[in-house]
């Protein structure tokens, strides 16, 4: 069958749609709701084309290709139509970043997205690096919304294991609903409600867990937006590369597509798009491999404790101990989660080096946990995991452990070798159908960990054994008769555990996986006692007259992701001056983070702060509830804003800086200045405090990037327009994100006008001692905590500031790496969260 697309003659296969046919011939037609692994749906209308002889604009994804068809995919009319459709779709999506004139500079200044709670634009979106919507918007030259957008303020859904949902980003393409139905033949999620309140979700506002979700992650994988996300992987962005290997968690032998970054596994997907993985393969692999508890260094027992030593020392100690107990007194205990090669080496070691018949493969007991039975007379054991009971352990004279995570068995171990595994090893495994599957070394083992085979070979050498097989895989494979392995990339059926998480294996090398990967705690598994779900009982706050210092008196999310918190901090309130800040520790172990004082009341002893959820520490604050108490608040810190009668002062504010200007405006106005306050936000729903601001300034102007409130553009654009008309401005003070302040500095560089910017880099003590807050001003080092926060914006070394801010970005992602539900995430129950619970 032949047809013409954009003048090009192409051949179509039987039952092919116009879209499929075009894509196969590298002719791009924009599409959103279509996904290669799903049947066509026709919801987004993005793939509309012109077909001669057909009325209107049929959707290419649902129209079957037919002989002689003449199709046009790229006419100006179509582009216009698609732009309009995207415009409508973006009305209920945080779309301002798509419309922003400065998005390229922004991208350059902060390439990775910020780790917010609620995403209010691309630069804070976990999907940014792989976003279909963004790409489409660029291709179409999308630059305007037809009417102001709507933000539904849907609650963040973070109370399920592994999956975060922010349905404020959902474009209702239905990919997730369809993939769930398609792969599991049932619907855990579906469209709920109709028209503008339509959303995806479970019956009666149940959580995924309550709705019997399988946690296969397919919905997350197909979602074109940042709406559905893998809580662990989300802030890593797009992996540098992808590679394939076999899953080792059970004997299904599923093929894994592993996303890699800096030698680490950061994301996992099924190789066979049609057959989802179970929760272990999909969600547990990366956190398990990257666990901070992993054994990293060899250790030997010194008295009661294990001490980290070099490999050499550990191997020497092991060989000394083991050479004394060759023969029947020695046993090797392992389980089937080793590669065939490693098992062969271990067996060889048992028989040839240790001259013992006791090569024991432990077998799962009724609970699925592998246990070994030791023959009489065994007094020395080398084990690859926690397979021995306490009694068995106590009866031993020598215990050598090579393992990946600490366990009870280490209490008795004489020598511990850190083992590399799974994505860190090369080799072959046998699946439950007795087919050989390949393992590939894709990631770097933690610390000094080595593979089981490498450890045993080194140990054999330390025992002066000659002729022991080396670690060459090919030679080993031949000696051990290991068959050629093939990846299970086209599965015959969905693995049982992918349809029922309770069927997953609960143990790995004798470790209870639920204790190592937090998210698994809430999921039942065969034979594993379900951890009694601690009902997060939230005590209700009863206001009393007695206030405790650092107590939260009120807390509300005044605009998406911006939380206004009023603390009781009388000592701070008494001394506070405009422009100063405090350093807060949310709890005893959290970071110390500076926050600008927006307002305070010396009589009441209260201070008001605007906290944006942007990482681990601010999340702790954002999740505080009225009545909670912060561990500590120090302040007021920093040099207050210099107040004088300058004439006309323009205050530019963005993000948290909007709130911060309340105090500045009040003080400047009181000193006789004409205060013009210009605040910017991406969209109208992100503005807050408008009435208060209008009342403290002589002139108040709001601007939005998408033009949905006040003037379109950034606050600096408003100022520049004013200056063009000849207005006289004596001083400018910018408070906002570094990108906003840097832009202000750049745009006013040539003007002879004092411009101040408030810097708040990473701080520790806040008293000028640690140097963490160093900034370079006019080539000289200053400490933002005591010399600042206000500096001459034109003299600030912005590039250095940017690097300093990004210095910890990886550690910050690390501290957010969790798979279990975010505590209190759903605390809004019964207060309009709409989930139906109380």
């Amino acid at each position: 069958m032949e047809l013409t697309i954009n003048g090009q003659r192409v051949s179509a296969e039987a039952n092919e749609t116009v879209l499929k046919c075009a894509l196969r011939h590298d002719i791009h037609i924009p599409h959103l709701c279509t996904h290669p692994s799903l049947p066509p749906f026709g919801a987004c209308r993005m793939c509309m084309v012109e077909i001669e002889g057909m009325r209107g604009y049929p959707t290419a994804c649902t129209t079957p290709a037919a002989e002689g068809m003449v199709v046009r995919t790229e006419t100006e009319a179509l582009r216009e139509l698609r732009r309009n459709i995207l415009g409508l779709m973006m009305l209920e999506h945080p779309s301002a970043c798509l419309l922003c004139d400065r998005r390229e500079q922004c991208e350059e200044f902060r390439p990775s997205s910020e780790k917010v709670g609620r995403t209010t634009g691309c630069h804070t979106c976990n999907n940014k690096e792989v976003c279909d919507v963004r790409k489409l918007s660029e291709d179409l030259g999308f630059c305007q919304l037809p009417v102001p957008p709507l933000y539904h303020f849907r609650p963040l859904e973070r109370s399920d294991p592994f999956i975060d949902r922010d349905l404020n980003l959902c474009i209702l393409c239905g990919r997730c609903v369809r993939v769930c139905k398609h792969q599991h033949d049932t619907s855990i999620i579906d469209f709920v409600g109709r028209s503008s309140i339509s959303r995806i979700g479970e019956a009666f506002g149940r959580t995924l867990l309550e709705a019997d979700c399988r946690f296969c992650g397919s919905c997350v994988d197909v979602c074109p937006t940042g709406s559905l996300a893998d809580r662990y992987a989300k802030w890593f962005g797009k992996p540098d590369s992808w590679a394939e290997t076999t899953c080792m968690f059970c004997e299904e032998g599923c093929a894994l597509h592993v996303g890699l970054e800096d030698g680490k596994a950061v994301a996992v997907r099924a190789v066979d798009e049609d057959k989802p993985l179970c929760v272990l393969g999909r969600f547990a692999t990366a956190p398990f491999m990257n666990g901070t508890e992993r054994l990293r260094a060899p250790q030997i027992r010194v008295g009661d404790v294990l001490r980290e030593v070099s490999w050499e020392e550990a191997l020497t100690r092991a060989s000394e101990k083991l050479s004394a107990c060759k023969g029947g007194a020695f046993a090797v205990v392992c389980d089937t989660s080793l590669t065939l090669e490693d098992r062969y080496v271990l067996k060889k070691f048992t028989t040839d080096v240790m001259a013992s018949p006791n090569f024991i493969i432990s077998v799962p007991d009724g609970n699925g946990r592998a246990k070994a039975s030791l023959p009489d007379g065994v007094t020395a054991v080398l084990t690859t995991g926690d397979f021995l009971t306490e009694t068995q352990r106590d009866a031993l004279d020598v215990l050598v452990v090579q393992d990946c995570y600490p366990s009870a068995i280490l209490e008795k171990a004489d020598i511990v070798f850190p083992a590399a595994l799974f994505t860190e090893t090369e080799g072959t495994v046998l699946d439950c159908r007795n087919t050989a599957r390949p393992l590939h070394r894709l990631t770097t083992p933690p610390g000094q960990a080595r593979t089981d085979g490498e450890i045993i070979t080194a140990l054999a050498a330390a025992l002066n054994t000659s002729g022991f097989p080396g670690n060459d895989r090919a030679t080993l494979a031949e000696a051990a008769g290991i068959p050629e392995a093939t990846l299970y990339s086209k599965r015959e059926s969905v693995p049982a555990a992918a349809s029922n998480p309770a069927k997953r294996s609960a143990w790995f090398r004798g470790h209870n996986l639920a204790l190592l990967v937090g998210g698994l705690k809430s999921l039942p598994a065969d034979g594993e006692p379900v951890a009694a779900e601690e009902e997060a009982s939230l005590p209700t706050f009863v206001p009393t007259d007695k206030r405790i210092p650092f107590q939260v008196l009120s807390k509300q999310e005044i605009s998406p992701n911006n939380h206004e918190i009023i603390f009781y901090a009388p000592a701070v309130a008494k001394k506070a001056k405009a422009g100063q800040f405090v350093i807060i520790m949310a709890d005893a172990t959290s970071e110390r983070v500076p926050y600008t004082l927006c307002d305070w009341d010396a009589n009441e002893g209260t201070i008001t702060l605007i906290v944006q959820e942007k990482g681990q520490s601010s999340r702790k604050l954002a999740l505080m509830r009225t009545g909670d108490t912060a561990a500590h608040i120090v302040g007021p810190l920093g040099t207050p804003l210099e107040i004088d009668n300058y004439g006309t002062v323009v205050l530019l504010g963005g993000c948290y800086g909007i709130g911060a200007h309340i105090a500045n405006a009040k003080a400047l106005k009181a000193a006789g200045n004409h205060v013009i306050l210009i605040v910017e936000a991406r969209s109208h729903y992100l503005h807050y405090y408008q009435e208060e601001l209008a009342s403290v300034a002589d002139e108040f102007i709001a601007s939005t990037i998408d033009g949905s409130n006040g003037v379109k553009g950034h606050s600096i654009d408003v100022l520049l327009r004013r200056l063009k008309t000849g207005a006289k401005v004596d001083r400018v003070i910018a408070v906002g994100c570094p990108f906003m302040m840097k832009t202000v500095a750049a745009e006013t560089a040539e003007m002879n006008m004092p411009v101040l910017a408030a810097l708040n880099p990473i701080m520790l003590d806040g008293t000028g001692m640690c140097g963490a807050c160093r900034v370079t001003i006019d080539g000289k080092t200053k400490f933002a905590c005591v010399d600042g926060p206000f500096f001459d914006a034109h003299l600030i070394d912005w590039e250095e500031l940017k690097d300093r801010r990004n210095a910890y970005s990886e550690a910050e992602i690390g501290s957010l790496l969790r798979t279990e539900p975010v505590e209190h995430a759903h605390h809004a129950h019964g207060h309009g969260c709409g989930c139906g619970k109380s």
């Binding site: 619907s187 855990i188 579906d190 709920v192 409600g193 109709r194 479970e202 019956a203 709705a211």
Partner: protein, 156 residues
């Protein structure tokens, strides 16, 4: 108010009457609601079990129609008319005021189960605008100030 524990045999009979298609589901749900007054989680879970269709899908179908209710109805049903005539005479203000007085949103039931607040497109007595009906009793020419007294008529 006690939640009606769904009558399983009743649901079995209803499910048996209709095909397990989307259309069939609509009819099944309608019968359940007629009998129980609303669609409870129990009733939908049971329907899901019997039809083999996921409860999430059934809920999705049900929420598509504004006709279905998911909370036990209030003892007294308030209907605020927002037809054209009532609307121009301040029907929506009346609705807002009722929301404020009862501390619930339109479509909801007060926590004590006493009142249910609904809007309706036209009650058919436009001359009496703005109209509010409670349990079928019509209150003509309602003003915000009259509302507390009207509500006070319902004591149980």
């Amino acid at each position: 108010m006690a939640i009606v524990k769904s009558d399983v045999s009743f649901i079995e009979n209803v499910v048996a009457k209709y095909p397990t298609t989307k259309g069939g589901i609509v009819a099944i749900l309608q019968e359940i609601q007629e009998r129980e007054g609303y669609l409870s989680p129990d009733a939908l879970d049971e329907t899901a079990r019997l039809t083999g269709i996921s409860v999430n899908e059934i809920y999705g179908v049900a929420t598509f129609y504004s006709f279905y209710k998911f909370n036990p109805p209030g003892r007294h049903v308030i209907q605020v008319c927002l037809g054209t005539a009532c609307h121009v005479r301040g029907g929506s203000k009346i609705l807002k005021e009722l929301e404020r007085l009862l501390k619930i949103k339109v479509g909801e039931v007060t926590p004590d189960g006493k009142f249910e607040l609904n809007r309706i497109a036209c009650l058919g007595c436009c001359a009496l605008e703005p109209v509010v009906a409670i349990d079928g009793k019509f209150y003509p020419r309602v003003t915000a100030r009259k509302l507390p007294a009207i509500l006070a008529e319902y004591q149980d």
